[in-house]
């Protein structure tokens, strides 16, 4: 059965603006959007026109490389706008939602337990749930032609201010149960469900036939990449799929009812949020509808996701596809007199050279100032302290910088995606954009494969 893994390397970053466990209902968003840029390397092929009426589950666009993969509408309504960015690339498809009850497309899921794998795949693809499955290596949408070695689900999120899934998924136990049953049919090597050793795991108690392991320790213990590396590392040629529990619940709901329901509880947190808490909304909701006047101040950064891996969005932007969190922190666009020597406010750090920041302050009001300028690598041994994987992070990042494909492969680039090295980026003395560098490396490897 499952293992108990104690994660020692890593760090929790305690931030101000922790959400209360109260779940607020939100007067529903009027517009929703699906953003192709949430998927690495995706080129969308439109299936609808502006002004067209869509139901929940109608295909908005498909993947140009594999048109079986659909991206469907989270609500019913009218396609309000197809937003294009540079070189006319589609950056968002906005839908003006119906005010009344949503019209839903029906999927034939009633006989799923006897269905074969191909039929299940077809339903997931058609319903637009397939893109929730991420494939390693490369961290892209799962390849439809491959049967994965195993599927990994991290049952908890250890990122800063992340949702406690025990709260946000409460009441969805049966959907999770059904969802995991479906996942089990997709993989030969089975499904791994990794739980936090010290948290309430009652939402997962009905789930059967999965390999349960328990993790304990600081962030990034909740990252699925860290869990894979500690349980069954990815070797060259292996394909492993990962999916988040909240998305497993979407799958469960579809197979229980034949209808898609993208309703989810998300966390709105951060020091610049007046009322940090859980809010009920839907995939692709507009930040405006979520936040209203919930901002404490004007000069803020709104992040879809957490502070380490999230995407910067505007105040009139939309929640990204994979995220169940909005974080709002102050921008750091102020000069700080001799700030490198005498920091004028407490800030989180791994370095014992800032003892006051570390020990006297329990939570931090962080901003987006990098607290220093980018430099060449000088300090060593930092990344290793926050990456609990059998990977040599600095050597790997340097191999990517040198575009040495063979070395990247040998050093385990197949085992990591951007989020795994986010803490390395946070602690970096030389302020190197580690996630971006790794992303370029992954892209290069994917092209070569």
């Amino acid at each position: 059965m499952g293992k108990n893994v104690k994660i020692k390397r890593g760090m929790d970053i305690p931030l101000e603006g922790k959400p209360s466990t109260h779940i607020h209902a939100i007067s529903s968003s009027t517009t929703f959007a699906i953003k192709p840029n949430d998927f690495k390397g995706l080129i969308p092929k439109l299936r609808i026109k502006q002004g067209e009426e869509v139901k929940v589950g109608d295909c908005l666009f498909t993947d140009k490389k594999n048109d079986k993969i659909c991206f469907t509408s989270p609500v019913s309504g009218e396609v309000a706008e197809i937003v294009r960015g540079e070189r006319r690339a589609i950056t968002a498809i906005k839908i003006l939602a119906d005010l009344a009850e949503y019209k839903c497309k029906e999927f034939d899921t009633q006989n799923y337990s006897t269905n074969n794998v191909d039929e299940i795949k077809a339903i997931l693809l058609e319903s637009g749930l397939w893109p929730f499955i991420t494939q390693r290596p490369y961290g892209v949408i799962a390849d439809t032609e491959v049967t994965p070695k195993s599927i990994f689900v991290s049952g908890f999120d250890s990122s800063p201010l992340a949702a406690d899934l025990g709260v946000s998924l409460r009441g969805k136990e049966s959907q999770l149960e059904t969802g995991f049953k479906i996942l089990n049919m997709l993989s030969e090597g089975g499904v791994y469900l990794n739980l936090h050793a010290k948290k309430d795991n009652t939402i997962y108690q009905n789930i059967k036939d999965v390999k349960v392991s328990y993790f304990d320790g600081p962030h990034p213990s909740g990252l699925v990449g860290v869990q894979i590396n500690n349980l069954d590392p990815i070797n060259k040629g292996d394909v492993v799929w990962t999916i988040k529990p909240q998305h497993v619940a979407f799958i469960g709901k579809l197979f229980e009812t034949g209808k898609l329901d993208f309703e989810q509880n998300i966390v709105i947190a951060g020091s610049e949020v007046k009322e940090p808490a859980y809010y009920t909304t839907r995939l692709g909701a507009s930040v405006h509808s979520l936040m209203n006047d919930n901002y404490k101040s004007e000069n803020v950064r709104v992040i879809s996701g957490n502070v380490l891996t999230g995407t910067k969005i505007e105040k009139d932007g939309y929640l990204s596809f994979f995220d169940n969190q909005v974080t709002v922190i102050p921008e750091g666009n102020q000069y700080e007199l001799l700030g490198w020597l005498f920091p004028s406010y407490a800030r989180p750090t791994l370095s014992p050279s800032l003892p006051i920041s570390k020990y006297l302050k329990k939570t931090f009001n962080v901003n987006t100032n990098p607290h220093g300028e980018p430099r060449a690598y000088v300090v060593t041994g930092q990344y290793e302290k926050v990456l609990p994987m059998d990977i040599m992070p600095q050597q790997l990042i340097k191999a990517v910088m040198a575009k040495d494909l063979e070395l990247m492969e040998n050093l385990g680039i197949y085992e990591v995606i951007e989020e795994d090295v986010a803490l390395c980026e946070f602690v970096c003395t030389s302020k190197i954009n580690v996630q971006q560098v790794l992303s370029e490396g992954l892209e290069l490897m994917a092209e070569e494969s």
Binding site: N333, L337, G339, W340, R375, A376, V378, T380, A422
Partner: protein, 393 residues
């Protein structure tokens, strides 16, 4: 603060592209970012970043060197007073004499080094890297007090240009820049870097008292070895406690083991210096000294208790400030143990087998600097091998 910021904002266009003094852009930027952490924000990846940066890291190393510097200033005066009068001067007299002699060396070192760094930064369109702030202090500390200023300038220029910038600047250099400067002088001007007359700064034409000898511990050991004396002949004129506290002849900052250890505590507690390298260097030195002790061979060095190696010469200074330069040291965690240990071993080997050599640790560190990438290579290979073995199982 507002006033200062306004003044800088007023000056900024002059130094920016298109401004009259745009050729000094990197220099201006260095001073501006020294005064103010820029108002930049994160644009990709993690939205928040750690409070540490390279400026702070380098500054902590400088703080860690201050005890050695302060002691060195006093000791320069102290040694001069002993040589000229045979008695000790007052604390302030000693300190003042030391300051008069040492300050110009520090100024030349920083002036020449930073000047070249800023020139290169401007030429390459890079920001000025903080690395030289440490090198610029290390160079004076590892010089004999009597060194001519032009030599300091020349050596600094050599170490910055040939030791660092040709490799691409801070972070890319193979050798420890401060030791490169010292090595350059040792090879180019051995008479000013070794012997018995360079370790005490004496004004021109002054006469020393009878019985004064300018020899260091290492110098005495070298001549004893040449004369075939053994350890029991009471070779060292300085007591081991004097050597430990540091009121002996030697380079400006290297003499006091205590001051170096204070530096080590600062470096380790601030998480800046690698304790692994320091510890393994010390272990390596003790190990090799112990091997000679039990080898049964006769000789001044062979029979010297192993721990003496740590206390005499520049061993501690090197082990704490020079080996831990993260750029030229081994960069893998396992590699750091091997790197440090071999430096300790080599230092003692060089001292024992070639006592004519002024100081083994300089050569040992530079040699291991060259081998550090090789050590890392094998550590990385072992990680690669475990990954490949996983596939086979």
């Amino acid at each position: 603060m507002k006033f200062l910021r306004d003044q800088i904002d007023k000056l900024k266009p002059t130094f920016s592209e298109g401004g009259k003094l745009s050729f000094l852009h990197s220099t201006f930027d260095a001073f501006e970012t020294f005064l103010f952490v820029p108002n930049h924000t994160t644009q990709s990846g993690s939205h928040i970043r750690d409070g540490i940066d390279l400026k702070r890291t380098m500054f902590i190393v400088i703080i860690a060197m201050l005890p050695a510097l302060m002691f060195g200033l006093w000791n320069v005066g102290h040694q001069q007073s002993l040589a000229l009068t045979g008695t000790d001067g007052s604390l302030w007299d000693n300190f003042f004499v030391g300051l008069i002699q040492t300050l110009p060396i520090i100024i030349v070192s920083y002036g020449v080094g930073l000047g070249i760094e800023m020139g290169f930064a401007q030429f390459r369109g890079h920001p000025v890297n903080e690395g030289f702030l440490v090198t610029g202090m290390l160079i004076p500390l590892c010089m004999p007090p009597d060194v001519p200023l032009w030599m300091v300038g020349l050596a600094t220029a050599f170490s910055v240009v040939i030791g660092k910038e040709v490799f691409g600047g801070t972070g890319m250099n193979l050798l420890n820049p401060a030791l490169t400067a010292r090595m350059f002088l040792y090879i180019g001007y051995p008479s000013s870097m070794s012997g018995d007359s360079v370790w005490t700064f004496l004004p021109e034409g002054s006469k020393t008292v009878d019985g004064y000898s300018g020899a260091t511990n290492l110098g005495e050991l070298a001549s004893a070895t040449a004369e075939g004396k053994s350890w029991s002949d009471d070779i060292l004129s300085a007591s081991i406690m004097d050597s430990f506290w540091g009121n002996i002849q030697g380079s400006i900052g290297e003499t006091s083991v205590v001051a170096c250890l204070i530096g080590a505590v600062i470096l380790i507690s601030a998480g800046v210096g690698s304790w692994k390298i320091m510890l393994s260097t010390i272990l390596g030195g003790l190990f090799m000294g112990w091997i000679f002790n039990i080898s049964g061979a006769d000789g001044a060095y062979m029979d010297m208790p192993a721990y003496y190696h740590l206390i005499i010469g520049g061993f501690m200074f090197g082990a704490i400030f020079m080996t831990t330069d993260p750029v030229s040291a081994a960069q893998t965690e396992k590699g750091k143990w091997i790197y440090g240990f071999l430096i300790g071993v080599l230092t003692v080997l060089i001292r024992v087998f070639n006592p004519g050599y002024p100081e083994g640790i300089m050569m040992a560190i530079l040699l291991m600097n060259v081998f550090a990438p090789l050590i890392d290579y094998y550590v990385v290979q072992s990680n690669i091998k475990t990954r490949l073995n996983r596939v086979k199982v």
